[in-house]
Structures are given as structure tokens and as C-alpha cells.
């Protein structure tokens, strides 16, 4: 995984959070994790194919997921229902689309599967048994995690 790959996602997260939620995002200390587990209340998984292959997993705690949708809709939410989970899926999908556009500037042409939304903690996500990078992120409405596993397609088989 190269810094450019990670950065494309981080920059897209910052840009879309500002645009859609009017929130600044701060990055914490990156760390390597052995496997990708959906450990938060609302998780969104993006599958990447093409010149880079892998997965990006966003995990939001419940209070933050509800607050994000409240900021966008102006309506108070009290549970992670289809409206909330679909809205989170859409936000992550837009972030992924932006990140892939910026990766294409580095000549990495990738596609993205529709986001998969996993509600509920500790469901295992089957994927390559490679280590992934965990990026802890913080906003004024809460902390969330993004797990990134991306490999150059020519290096895996």
C-alpha cells in the first residue's frame, strides 16, 4: 500500500465531510491491523477492483451515524434504520468515487462495487488475509475508523 493510495481516500473523506456535513476531519495515528472486522455500530464496506484491488471499511459509532444524518436532513434520528444506513452508504460511495477519480490521476484505473452496509458490531468480513491499515479519524461529532486494504493488481494472484 502506497501513501498516495491512502491519501486519496483521506483527502476525499475531508472534502466530502466538509461539503456534505460541514465537518473538519483530523487524522489520528495510523496502525497496522491483522484483519478487518466491522467493530462499530454502522459499517460500510467498499470493494475496489481494477489496477488496485481490495476493500475499504468505514466504521461509525451509533451516535455519530445518527448525528451525520441529522446534519444532512435536519431531522432527529434515534435508530440506524434503512434511511440512516442508506444515507451513510451514499456518503461513503461519494467519498469512494472521489478517491478513485484522484487515483486515476496517478494512472490507477479502478472500479468500485456498490457499498455494502453492515449494521451491528463484530461481524467478520471475509477477505484476503492480508494486514490492513487502520486510520482513526476524528470530527467534532465523534470518532470513526477507516480500514484500508489495497494491493496493486499485478502483485497479487
Amino acid at each position: 500500500m502506497k501513501v498516495d493510495h491512502i491519501n486519496a481516500f483521506y483527502v476525499a473523506i475531508q472534502e466530502i465531510f466538509k461539503l456534505m456535513l460541514d465537518l473538519d476531519v483530523e487524522k489520528g495515528e495510523l496502525r497496522i491491523v491483522e484483519d478487518m472486522v466491522s467493530s462499530k455500530d454502522a459499517n460500510v464496506l467498499l470493494g475496489i477492483t481494477g489496477d488496485l484491488k481490495g476493500s475499504i471499511l468505514f466504521g461509525f459509532p451509533k451516535h455519530m451515524a445518527l448525528e451525520m444524518v441529522n446534519i444532512m436532513s435536519g431531522v432527529d434520528m434515534d435508530e440506524i434504520d434503512t434511511f440512516v444506513s442508506s444515507a451513510l452508504g451514499e456518503v461513503v460511495n461519494i467519498i469512494g468515487g472521489n478517491a478513485l477519480t484522484s487515483l486515476s490521476n496517478y494512472d490507477y484505473i479502478c472500479n468500485m462495487a456498490p457499498p455494502q452496509i453492515i449494521v451491528g458490531k463484530y461481524k467478520s468480513i471475509s477477505m484476503a488475509s492480508e494486514r490492513s491499515l487502520l486510520i482513526p479519524l476524528e470530527t467534532e461529532i465523534g470518532k470513526f475508523d477507516v480500514n484500508v486494504f489495497l494491493a496493486e493488481a499485478k502483485n497479487i494472484n
Binding site: 461539503l19 456534505m20 460541514d22 444532512m72 436532513s73 435536519g74 431531522v75 434520528m77 434504520d81 434503512t82 434511511f83 440512516v84 442508506s86 444515507a87 452508504g89 451514499e90 456518503v91 461519494i94
Partner: protein, 137 residues
């Protein structure tokens, strides 16, 4: 309140219509999300969806006319984005007419509509305002 001042593009006609569109979307979301039993509010949900759909068509036509009037260079691309979104919403409604207006599909459509509109007004439409200002300056 869904409308935010940062969504303004600086063209009164368009900003007023965007405000109205966000208002109708907000009414739809409030009905879908108010916690009342689905069968009791289904008619109201369908009505608010109809009001929103109707206004989308009206607004897209006006905004496209405005773009032509000022000679907006990305008019054709913008028109296609409008047409694509309208077709997507129409397809949701067509499917629900066939399979029934389920609460989950309406919630999904409300979420899709909300995020699309925020992104579209927050980014794509801002460029219309920038172009209009550049012509004045």
C-alpha cells in the same frame, strides 16, 4: 431545516427554487421518518413524494433555461446529470408502483434523494453561480 446558506449560488431565481426543493424533500423525509405506522401514513408519504418529484421537473427545466440564457459552457453535461437523476427517481417510483410502496424502499429513496441534492447543489450548481459572476465581472 435542510437548507443551508452555503448552498446559495448567488442567483435569486435558482436559490429560491433550491430552497423550495429542499423544503419539499424535508417534508417527504419527515413523513417517512416520523415513527408512525407505515400503513397509516402511506398516502401522505406518496403525496409528499409526488410534490417533490413535480418540483424537481419544474426546477430542472428552469435551471436549464437559465444556463442556456447565460451561455453556460457545461450546459449539456449538466442537463444529462439532471436527466439521469430524474430517470433514477422515476424508476424507483415505477418499481414501487409494481411491487408496492414499502417503507424500506421509500427510506432508501429519501436517503438517495437527500445525498444527491446536497452534493449537486453543493458542488455542481455552485459552478453555475461562479460562471454567472465571472460574466458580470
Amino acid at each position: 431545516m435542510m437548507w443551508k446558506e452555503r448552498y446559495r449560488i448567488g442567483v435569486d431565481l435558482i436559490d429560491d427554487q433550491h430552497r423550495e426543493l429542499f423544503k419539499r424533500l424535508s417534508n417527504f423525509i419527515r413523513v417517512v421518518q416520523n415513527g408512525e405506522p407505515w400503513d397509516e401514513k402511506l398516502d401522505e408519504a406518496k403525496d409528499t413524494l409526488g410534490f417533490m418529484q413535480e418540483y424537481v421537473v419544474y426546477h430542472f427545466e428552469d435551471e436549464e433555461r437559465y444556463q442556456r440564457e447565460i451561455g453556460y459552457p457545461d450546459y449539456e453535461e449538466h442537463r444529462k446529470i439532471h436527466a439521469g437523476f430524474k430517470a433514477e427517481v422515476d424508476e424507483y417510483v415505477r418499481l414501487m408502483e409494481e411491487e408496492g410502496f414499502s417503507e424500506e424502499t421509500m427510506q432508501e429513496l429519501a436517503a438517495r434523494f437527500m445525498t444527491w441534492l446536497i452534493m449537486h447543489v453543493g458542488r455542481a450548481d455552485q459552478r453555475i453561480g461562479e460562471y454567472a459572476r465571472s460574466k458580470e465581472g
